[in-house]
Symmetry: D2
Subunit: 294 residues, 4 copies
C-alpha cells in the first residue's frame, strides 16, 4: 500500500519502520525534520507538509501527541484532510479525545474519506518490534482496508466497535486504570515502609499472592527501585491521558472520584519537576518522604 | 497440638475446621454459640469464655472482626491473655491495626507468652479448603511453634518480618491496593459505558492485553455483572480495612491521597445501603447511573 | 458613548439595560433574537451579527457563557473583531479562561484595538440594579476609556492589574472559594444532622459566632431550606467555573486538591439531575440522605 | 462555687484563670506540674490527681487534648469520676468525639452525677479574656448549675441541645468549615499567584466584595504573610479535629468528600514538618511552590 505517515515521535517512528519493513511505500512527515532521516534511509519519501504526505495515498496514519496536533495536521493550513483521496482511510493512532475522534469521523465521511480510530497500547520498544496492542473501531470496510497496517504494527488487533470514538474511550479508560495502579502502588509502598517493611517484600506478597499481573510486577519493581529515567512513557503524557479521561467523563456527566484525585497527583508531580520522568514516578511523588523525591 | 480458637465467623470456622482435620485438638469459643455446633460435631470442645479456650493450650488462634473484638477477647473481663500458658503462642489472624498488634506483642512478652501476627488473604471458601495465603511475622521460635497451624490453614506462608506489626501493615496495604482496583474498575466501566462500550469488551482489553491478573478478571466480571450478593467479603469489612490503612498511615504521617478518597467511597456505599454486599460493589456505587444502583 | 453589546443572557440583559439607562447608545446582538426586544423598546438598535454590533462603536461589551461563545462572537465568521474600530475598547465581562483573555489581548493589540477584561461578581437581580462588583484589568488608557461602562454596571470597580488575564484568574479563584464554601456547608449540615442538630442551629453558631459573613448567611439559609429553584446561578455554570479554575491551575502546574474533588462533586450533582438548580445544591447532593435529594 | 479543673494547657490555663478571677475556689490538676504554678499564686489549690481535684466540688471542668486524655482523667486509675460527688456537674470543654461525650453522659448519669458538654470556640488569648464562644448541651438543670462557669469563660453561651453530644458535633462541624476555608484560601492564592496576582489583592476582592468575614480577613492575611509561628491553634490539633469530624461522619454513614481530602492535606502538612505551626499553614503546604514551604 501507499501510506502517508504523520508524526514520527518515539512511538510513531517505530510504527512507521514496521510499515516500511512490511513492504509498504511510505511518505512521512514530521514537524521536526531530523526524525525522518532514518526512515528515508530505508526508502521512505519525506513530505514537506501533512497535505503532501496524504496526497494520492491509500491510507494515512497519524500518531501525534494531542488533540491540537491532530487538528492542525488534519485541518490546519496545510492539513492532510484536503488532499487525502476519496476512499482512502485515515488510521488515527494518537491518544485523543473521543470528541475529536467523532468530529474527524464526520468530516472524513463528508469528504468521502474513510476513518478508523486505532489507538495503541504499548511503549516505544514494543512499537519497534511491531508488538503493540491495537484498539480499533470503525466501519467494517474501513477496518478491512486498514488491516494490513494494523497487522504490521500490532501483535493483537482488538476491534471494540463500529463507531470510532469507542476505541478512544477504551484507550483512555485503560490508561486510567493503569495510572491509578501506579499511584496506588506508591501509596501502599509508603504505608508499608512506615511499618519497616521494604517495597520488594510487599510487592512479592501483593503480586505473588494476589494480583499476579506482569504489569504490576514490572511497574512495581520500577517504583520500588525509583527507576524513573529514562521514561518509558513520560509523566506529562500520562497526565494528559488522565485529563482526557476526566474530560470525556465530565462531558457525559460521569463522576470519577478517584480519577479526580489522580489528576491532581499528576499535576503535583509535574509541579515537583517530574514531567519528563516515567509516569510511574507519580506513585513516589504523592507520598514521598522528605529528602527523597519531591 | 492443643489449640484454643476464638472467633468462628465465616473465615474462622473454615480455619478451625482445617485445624481439626489436621488432627489438632481444639477448644473453640464464639460469642454467638450456635456457630460452634458443627465444630463440636467434629470433636472440638466448646469453651464458655476466651479465658477457658486458652487454658492449658499450646497455641491460641484468634480470628475476630476488629480491634475492639480482639482487645475484649484477649484483655477483657474473661480474656484469654490471663490464662494462656507461659511459652504458648498466640496466632493472631484478624485484620487489625499494626498498633494493636504491637501492643499485644508487648503484653504477651511481658507475660512470657509468644505472639505471631498471621493475617490471611483469601475468602471463606478458600479458608475451608485450607488454601489461604498467610502473612506471618514474629520471632523465629514463635513462628516455628506456630508452623503446624499456619501450614494447616494456608497453601502459602509468607514470612514478612520478625516484628509482628509488619504482617498487619502488609495485609492492610494489600487490601488497600485491591480496594482501589475495585473502585477504579467501576469508574472505568462508567466511563466506557458513557461511550457506548460494554464492560465486558473493556475488561477483555484491559485485562487481556494489559494487566493479565486473575484478580482483575474475577472481580472485573463480578462488577460487570452487578453480582454483589452473596458477599465474598462484606463491603463494611472492606471499609474497616481501608480505615485501618489510613489510620496507620496517619499515625506515621504518611499522606495517602487516593486512600482518603477511597474511604469516602466506602462510606458513600454504606450510606447507600450496600454494607452487606460484596466489597466489589464500591465500584458501582461511586459512579452509578440513575436508576441502577445507588 | 456608542456601545456594541453582545450577549443578552440573564446577566447581559441587565447590564445592557443599565448602559441604556445611563444614556449610552446601544447596538445589541444576541443569538436568540427574542431577548433583544425589551432593549429595543428602550431605544437600543438590534444587530444581525456580532460584526454589525461592533461597527463604528466606541466600545464593545461581551457577556457570553463560555470560551467557545466568546471566540465565535469575536473571531468567528461574522465576528466582531473584524469590524471593531481601531482605538475602540473591548470590555470582556464573560467568565472565561485567562488563556483566552491573553489571546484576545494580543489579537486586539495587533489590530490597534484596546482590551479590558472586566468579569463581574453578582447575580442577575444585582446586574439589573447596576450593583455588580467589577474586576477590571487592562492598560490605564483602556481602563480610562471603559470607565463610563464599568461605572454604569458596577457599584464597585476593582482594578486588579494591567494585564487583562489577571482579572479573569481573580474571578475564577473567587468563584472557587465560594463553591468550596457551598460544598463545605452541605457536608457540615449532613454531619450535624447525623447528630440530631438542625441546620439552622448550626448555621447560627457557625456564622453568628465565627464567620460572620453575609455570603455564608444567605447561602447557608438557602441550603438549609433546600431552596435551589429558581437558580440565582445555575449549577452547570458553577461547574464550568470550577473547571476553568482547575484548567488554569493545571496549565501553571498548580495542584489544587480540594478543587479537584470539588469539580467531581459538581459533576456528580449534574449526573444527579441538578444542572439547572442553584449552584448551592452541590452541598446537598454530595451528602444527601436517601430519599431526599440525590 | 468550688470547682475542680483538670487540664492546664494553653486554653485551660486561661479558662481557669477566669474562674479564679470570678471568685470561684479552684482545685487544679495538670499532668505537667509547672503549669499550675501561676494559678496557685492566685489562690488555686493544686491536686495530685484528677480524683483529688474532683473530690467534694460543686463542679468539675475538664479541658484536655483528646479523647484518650479525657478518658484517662475521668475513668483511669486515679480518675475524677470516682470522686466527683453525686449531683455535681462535669463541664467537659475538650474537643472530643460525640461518641465519648455520649458515653460520659451515660456513666455520669449512672453515678448520679450531672454532665454538660461545653466545647469552646476561640484561641488562648481569647480564653484569657473570658471571651470564648461556648457551645453548650445538657439537661436544663445541669446547664443551670454550670451557668456561672460558662458565663465566666465565655462572652457568648450558645445552647445547642439537651443531649450533650450535640455540642460536640457542632464544634467539630464548625472547625471543619474553618479548616476547609484555610485550605481553600491557600489553593486560591496559589492559583492567582500563578497568574501574577498577589495574595493581598485577591483577598481584598474576595473578602471585601464577597465574603466580608472577619475570620477570612484575619486568616487570609496570616496565610498571605506566611505567618504561621507562633501558632494560635496548632496544625496537629486541627488535624485531630478534622479526623474526629470524619470519624463521627463515618460512624453515621455520612460521606464527606471534601472532608476526606482535607484530612489528607493535614497529614501531608504534618509529614512536611508543620505540625507545630498554626493550622492556617495547611493552605500553603498543599500548593506550595518549590523552594518556599513544603
Amino acid at each position: 500500500m501507499r501510506i502517508g505517515f504523520v508524526g514520527l515521535g518515539r512511538m510513531g517512528s517505530g510504527m512507521a519502520a514496521r510499515l516500511v519493513a512490511a513492504g509498504h511505500q511510505l511518505v512521512v512527515f514530521n514537524r521536526t525534520r531530523g526524525k525522518a532521516a532514518s526512515l528515508a534511509a530505508r526508502g521512505a519519501a519525506i513530505a514537506e507538509a501533512p497535505a503532501e504526505a496524504a496526497r494520492g495515498v491509500d491510507a494515512l496514519v497519524t500518531m501525534l501527541s494531542d488533540d491540537a496536533a491532530v487538528e492542525e495536521a488534519l485541518f490546519g493550513g496545510d492539513g492532510a484532510a484536503r488532499t487525502l483521496p476519496r476512499g482512502a482511510v485515515h488510521v488515527s493512532s494518537s491518544t485523543i479525545s473521543p470528541e475529536l475522534s467523532a468530529r474527524m469521523a464526520e468530516r472524513h465521511a463528508a469528504a468521502g474519506q474513510r476513518y478508523v480510530a486505532a489507538p495503541v497500547l504499548g511503549r516505544p520498544g514494543i512499537a519497534e518490534r511491531g508488538e503493540l496492542v491495537v484498539l480499533a473501531a470503525g466501519a467494517p470496510d474501513a477496518l478491512e482496508a486498514s488491516r494490513p497496517i494494523l497487522d504490521a504494527i500490532g501483535k493483537q488487533v482488538r476491534v471494540v466497535g463500529v463507531e470510532p470514538p469507542k476505541a478512544n474511550v477504551v484507550k483512555l479508560a485503560a490508561n486510567f486504570v493503569m495510572a491509578v495502579t501506579l499511584e496506588a502502588l506508591g501509596e501502599a509502598y509508603a504505608l508499608v515502609e512506615s511499618g519497616g517493611v521494604d517495597d520488594a517484600t510487599f510487592l512479592d506478597v501483593l503480586n505473588g499472592a494476589v494480583l499476579q499481573s506482569p504489569f504490576v510486577e514490572a511497574y512495581g519493581k520500577r517504583i520500588a527501585g525509583n527507576a524513573f529515567a529514562p521514561a518509558g512513557f513520560r509523566l506529562a503524557l500520562g497526565a494528559k491521558d488522565v485529563r482526557l479521561a476526566l474530560q470525556a467523563a465530565e462531558r457525559a456527566a460521569v463522576p470519577m472520584p478517584l480519577g479526580s484525585v489522580l489528576l491532581y497527583r499528576f499535576v503535583a508531580a509535574i509541579a515537583g519537576g517530574h514531567a519528563d520522568e516515567d509516569w510511574a514516578a507519580v506513585g513516589r511523588v504523592s507520598t514521598a518522604r522528605r529528602g527523597t523525591i519531591v
